[in-house]
Symmetry: C2
Subunit: 211 residues, 2 copies
């Protein structure tokens, strides 16, 4: 019996499939060998109980026995404490992993997601484009000098940064060979491939149930 | 002797004074009674050594003896582990504090800062305004039902969320009485007042040295 349950939507349209953020938590559990169940909330009609668990009406959120967390970044840091595969135990490796995990959330995704949002809203030459270029160029400079962000090996920081950088509009934005190689390398990992296939199968099963 | 050094710029123009993010770390140390030194890097001419410590050329970053971290959110979570004032020791309180700390960084600031950036770039009716409204309304709904975000008492999550929400353009954006009372209550704390006064004095001393 697993005590971990990853909560996601019951169904989403084809566009976001393979990118809904429960994938981050599935991927972390697959890397660490942690068993988990998947629970669902309605995406079409978000109920008060959903907002009680996730105040913005989003997914994912995580149950770990009695503990409950929302925010994919918080759930990742929580899961990471269960396995040295995700988070080194030595203080220097732990600090470096923490800083790059937060960097993915607050320095990179803070620009990529709003830029992407304006982009798909019909404003591809939006006012965040210069800032996006600068952030991605700095990341390219880092990744051109090393294979992993923290501790000289795969950590949860790479999992998250790769998930941030693999958004198609971001991945196609300019030529950054070290970043492209990094994203390709991370998303080739069997744990990512399984997490992605499982998410796609989850939503395909929902299609079948609706048909 | 303190082993903690908070790094910030040697000087900034008047506009950002009181808002440079070393304030978050000063505030956390003041709340927790942790002694710290303040180090400076040049803001006008950012050197390679600065980018080695902070890959985007920003501040703050933190030294804790041999450990070094960038990202204010990562440094806050690192400091929080030193004091139950900032982070409850029980697993439920810790998880709740972690989720709201990440929420401030990745659900609220991910919208407020890009919106603010477009706003001060001359586009106050920008394409992020609807998203900002939605996020702030959800936070208002949460804060109208409780005084603190996590564990029923002040934590590092409140410190960070209040620092995110006190940005003047965000604070003035619409009428949200519970959020306004929350920001007023948090920024009235002596630890915030001292951190802010110390940052203002730091930059005023730099003016005097340049005069």
């Amino acid at each position: 019996m697993s005590d971990l349950t990853i909560w996601t939507y019951d169904w989403v349209p084809p566009g976001p499939r393979g990118f809904v953020r429960d994938l981050r938590l599935r991927w972390a559990c697959e890397e660490a060998g942690l068993a988990y169940a998947v629970g669902t909330v309605a995406s079409d009609d978000r109920q008060a109980a959903h907002f009680e668990r996730q105040p913005f009406g989003q997914v994912p959120f995580l149950d770990d026995g009695e503990l409950k967390l929302f925010e994919s970044g918080a759930a990742l840091l929580h899961l990471a404490r269960k396995s040295e595969v995700l988070l080194p135990a030595d203080p220097a490796g732990e600090a470096e992993t923490l800083q790059w995990t937060i960097s993915a959330l607050n320095s990179v995704e803070m620009v990529t997601v709003p830029w992407w949002f304006l982009n798909i809203s019909g404003d591809p030459q939006n006012g965040l484009t210069g800032w996006l270029t600068s952030r991605l160029d700095h990341i390219e400079a880092v990744l051109s000098r090393r294979e992993w962000l923290a501790a000289g090996r795969f950590t949860v920081a790479d999992l998250l940064m790769a998930d941030v950088l693999r958004i198609p509009q971001v991945r196609r934005f300019g030529e950054r060979p070290a970043t492209e190689a990094y994203v390709a390398r991370l998303t080739a990992r069997p744990a990512f491939q399984k997490a992605r296939a499982d998410q796609l199968a989850h939503f395909a099963a929902a299609d079948a149930a609706r048909a």
